[in-house]
Subunit: 88 residues, 2 copies
């Protein structure tokens, strides 16, 4: 079975986010003055195949050990069965 995973990696709330601060300042300068608490994280999409249980275990291991830094980042993923997709 083929699966598609969406992985969200975000800095923990207690960690300063200089990239987010910069984006926030740009948005203020562009007139979006009500914007606050901008946080910039990563959104990783990937495909993988195997048995359902095995795929979940693999995904847990790779998000924890490779795709995120557990000291500074939180990570969460969604797993869906891949059927077909197109984008133009």
């Amino acid at each position: 079975m083929n699966y598609k995973a969406k992985i969200y990696v975000t800095l923990k709330k207690s960690i300063l986010d200089p990239q987010g601060r910069t984006v926030e300042r740009s948005l203020h300068n562009a007139g979006f003055s009500s914007v606050q608490n901008v946080r910039v994280g990563k959104f990783i999409e990937l495909e993988l195949s195997g048995e359902s249980f095995e795929v979940k275990t693999q995904l847990e291991a790779m998000t924890r050990d490779i795709l995120s830094n557990p000291i500074m980042e939180s990570v969460r993923f969604e797993l869906e069965e891949a059927v077909m997709s197109s984008e133009f």
Copy 2:
């Protein structure tokens, strides 16, 4: 009213993603050999306030004009009313 927005910025399918290729190679080297088509995008969270319609219009403008490059990237957002959240 206070809102929380989640913004997903991804490279268009037709654009090469060298960061994704590097992550894919690392995952293969770590034994996750079934992984393919890794794409790395951005996940931006922010808070903003105002009337519902005004907030939607602002968010459309800022995602299109500042937070993404429409030539190379696709962007999608979710908007939710902020109630309260905590993270430890």
